[in-house]
Symmetry: C2
Subunit: 271 residues, 2 copies
């Protein structure tokens, strides 16, 4: 089916999901929208996240997408159910794929979740996990320093290590935890730093990778994968500085992004 | 949604899928049907596999299953498309989940597939893989000695090692392969032997685990997971010796199976 997959995110974090989608489904066209002007969504109240998300969704619906991917944990936590009900295309968020992969991985049934304040406050991972297996033990930790650090390009080295080590101190008390979900699409960029800090005993789950895997499963299940031979073509849009977006996209996607469209939604509410 | 998931297999191999389903979806009820009398399906012609598979499907449809899992690679290869078209419940096979997991895993884009003669002859893995990424290099190898060996309970030790080593000799020529799909639901029981033989450089993909993961994804996506608190209850049926089936099920599922119903379909055609 030759319609694009729409991917929305509060900013650039969702590019980690897009990268995996391009790798796992190399024939599919993507349209990516990053609300970089009003990013981050993590600290915003629910109604703002819902409003902003709909702006992106309405933009994409006019482009005939065959599927919507909410590549932002905060937006998934607050809008997935509503979007699933109201849209007549498949809608996939990043929370349930991460939860399911953690359930597949854990042997101790103790799972940790790292995320923004909004995601952790929403208890969305806890609900998704308990929904499937009520006997799981779940611990959540908000890491408000991570996404801004990653946006600044600090993704390795001593400073990143220090910030992560400091933030993850509470994990020392999660003795039985053997699986840790990266519940924010920025965190895969510091996955190796996080793995270094938590050690070999803990499997670190990248919700973005898992989401790409489930998108592939759902499109395959629905027989909506593109099966032709036209060359791929991806489109990128941002609400903020498009040059900065292009620079980050080139770096993160490891492929040339030569055009980023600027789109304008309503004013940003101050955080 | 409180209806059971139906699982069909040519025999006992699909119990490896059922085991993973029970682990990853511990609230769901399963009904398992193993056509042990007419097993193996691997060497049979397509029309017989189709006929036998429909016998099991019709039996399960009367039990109001909410989803059908074809936990047999040979049956998936020959009946998935037809069943997807004709049934109004979701139908999942074991081939595409394994293919997708391999695509997620491979870095060299060279993937190997082990399976029965029927599965390898059908080219079903090749089609599923190429459908998603036409640049993949794929090698297939029929291992007709593995399933009978596993059915006899030989799953470790020197004999198993010798049989596997002998069968996998052609893999020495697949230099770039970094991912190997176990394309038969019996093979997970000798996964550690296979891993020993192929070495650390190759990731071995268990299609059964991946199928359980996708079933979870599809039921979750369709909001058809059971969310209540009733105790689980699984049912087992076999067409052959029910005592033998019970013995194997107890061993493989690592949980007590105290009742196995005997069902009778048509005569087995000789192989």
């Amino acid at each position: 089916m030759d319609y694009p997959i729409g991917v929305i995110d509060s900013g650039v974090g969702g590019l980690t999901v897009a990268r995996e989608l391009m790798r796992q489904l190399p024939k599919e066209n993507l349209i990516y929208v990053g609300d970089t002007l009003r990013c981050p969504y993590g600290p915003r109240p629910e109604e703002e996240v819902v409003e902003y998300t709909w702006d992106m969704v309405n933009f994409l619906l006019e482009k005939n997408i065959k599927m919507l991917v909410i590549a932002c944990n905060t937006a998934t936590a607050f809008t997935l159910e509503e979007l699933k009900q109201k849209l007549d295309i498949p809608v996939v968020g990043v929370i349930e794929p991460g939860a399911r992969a953690a359930i597949k991985t854990t042997k101790t049934n103790h799972i940790g979740v790292l995320g923004t304040e909004g995601t952790i406050r929403s208890n969305a991972y806890r609900k998704a996990l308990k929904n499937i297996n009520s006997e799981l033990e779940i611990e959540g930790l908000a890491c408000p320093t991570f996404a801004p650090m990653v946006e600044k390009g600090v993704i390795s080295g001593q400073l990143a290590h220090q910030v992560v080590k400091e933030a993850l101190k509470p994990l020392e008390n999660w003795k039985q935890m053997d699986t840790l979900i990266l519940g924010c699409t920025h965190y895969p960029l510091i996955k190796s730093v996080i793995e270094e800090v938590v050690g070999d005993q803990v499997d670190v789950i990248n919700s973005g990778d898992e989401t790409a895997r489930e998108i592939s499963a759902i499109l395959g299940f629905k027989r909506k994968l593109y099966e032709g031979t036209r060359p791929v073509s991806h489109q990128f849009y941002a609400t903020g500085d498009t040059h900065l977006f292009m620079k980050i996209a080139n770096m993160w996607l490891q492929r040339p992004v030569t055009e980023v469209g600027r789109i304008k939604f309503g004013q940003s509410h101050s955080i």
